[in-house]
């Protein structure tokens, strides 16, 4: 059970994520109409992730080959779609999904550790605690990874602005003036990807 929930399920999700990271850039313009701001995609990823935490669903995945296949495909698809959606989602939306996913996964991990009764019929009761700890660990890791990426973005934005200020101070005309609202706006809006269908006057 710890291997299933703590290793196999996250790896399936990450496999989809990395597949999109390296091959999915071309899909973003095509899917932008259906995945505005990444919302439907991230919703799908979160629903899939939550579904496979339900003990009855895990039992079915082990007992039925059809459900097992559905588990594998849905998790890989969830990782793939999440990666594509992440790149078009604004920070507020990213934060919403990361924080909600964190709480959901952490709560599930705590419940698996605390529940006195055997939750899954297909696994032994003493494996439940380990599976719960694995889920709690992934929740914390995911949150920390996101916080680190936000910190990195903030620091690089700050560095870029500092470079402009130094240029101004040296007497040379600056290409851009130091403008805090724009700096934050640039940080919060989607990165360089622009699809052809989107208008720039938002």
């Amino acid at each position: 059970m710890p291997r299933h929930m703590g290793v196999e399920l996250p790896l399936l999700f990450l496999a989809g994520w990395f597949a999109a990271l390296y091959t999915g850039a071309s899909l973003i313009p095509a899917s932008s109409a259906w995945n505005a701001a990444g919302l439907p995609g991230l919703l799908f990823a979160m629903a899939t992730s939550g579904f496979w935490m339900i003990p009855a669903a895990l039992d079915l995945a082990v007992l039925s080959p059809v459900v097992g296949f559905a588990k594998v495909t849905s998790l890989v698809a969830a990782g793939f779609v999440a990666c594509l959606s992440w790149r078009v989602a604004r920070m507020a939306i990213q934060a919403f999904f990361v924080l909600n996913w964190f709480w959901m996964t952490l709560a599930a991990g705590l419940l698996y550790q605390e529940a006195p009764q055997q939750l899954c019929s297909v696994y032994l009761a003493d494996q439940q605690g380990q599976a719960g700890r694995a889920m709690a660990a992934w929740a914390c890791a995911g949150l920390l990874a996101w916080i680190w990426s936000v910190a990195r973005m903030l620091l690089s934005a700050e560095d870029a602005e500092r470079a402009d200020v130094v240029t101004c101070a040296a007497g040379e005309p600056a290409n851009s003036q130091f403008d805090l609202p724009s700096a934050i706006g640039r940080m919060c809006s989607p990165p360089n990807l622009r699809s052809e269908g989107q208008s720039s006057g938002r």
Binding site: A47, F51, C120
Partner: protein, 210 residues
């Protein structure tokens, strides 16, 4: 705005499908464990008892279908194996409590008990007979039996949705419940194995029609 409408439709579809999936696996948002789902399923859709050949502690053959005759008898069933010294002990304790209650309330003839072993290779009639003595089962109202052969075993496990796993120490880990075969002869309920009082209370409530 076309892009907006398409995304909205996509999002709504994802939400709708997710709700359907969650509802299906939790039996309409009533349970998260397989045991809970089984309990809800049996209550909403009682199952017919199949023709399942059993052998009891005296070596007599009987069929599970014998309990399916509609009449005035309700049967409480538990599934155990004799060598188990964990949850089956609780299960047997619950049945003992029910036996005492049946006698105290004069319900003999209306309520009976059945213990089924899912380890027919080890739990032969002789072993079952010893077990019946150990749990002080009154043979007039509490019968102990096991499937006649391994072929019948899986059908019995499927009917009761019991999953049996070798526990790595020579025994089995398995889920358990206190099952009810109602007066209409159908497998109509499952209760927490530690709560025979709830099962009995429900039976008494149904009997008085309240």
């Amino acid at each position: 705005m076309k892009a907006g409408w398409r995304s909205l439709a996509c999002g709504a579809l994802v939400a709708a499908l997710s709700l359907c999936a969650f509802s299906a696996v939790t039996h309409g948002f009533t349970a998260v464990t397989s045991d809970g789902v089984r309990r809800a399923e049996l209550t909403s859709a009682p199952r017919e008892l199949p023709e399942l050949e059993l052998m009891d502690a005296r070596g007599k053959t009987l069929s599970l279908r014998d309990y399916a005759v509609p009449g005035k008898q309700t049967t409480f069933v538990n599934l155990v194996y004799v060598r188990c010294n964990s949850i089956c002990v609780t299960s047997a304790g619950s049945h003992s409590w029910l036996q005492a209650e049946i006698m105290a309330r004069g319900l003999q003839g209306r309520v009976r008990l059945l213990t089924l072993s899912f380890d027919p290779s080890n739990d032969t009639p002789a072993v079952l007979s010893g077990y019946a003595g150990h749990i002080a089962a009154d043979p007039t109202l509490w019968r102990v039996a096991t499937p006649r052969d391994a072929g019948q075993l899986q059908r019995m496990l499927d009917l009761f949705a019991v999953v049996v796993l070798p526990d790595g120490q020579g025994g089995y880990s398995h889920n358990a419940a206190l099952f009810v075969i109602g007066e209409e002869g159908l497998l109509a309920g499952a209760y927490d194995v530690e709560r025979p009082d709830v099962a009995l209370a429900d039976y008494l409530q149904r009997r008085t029609g309240s």
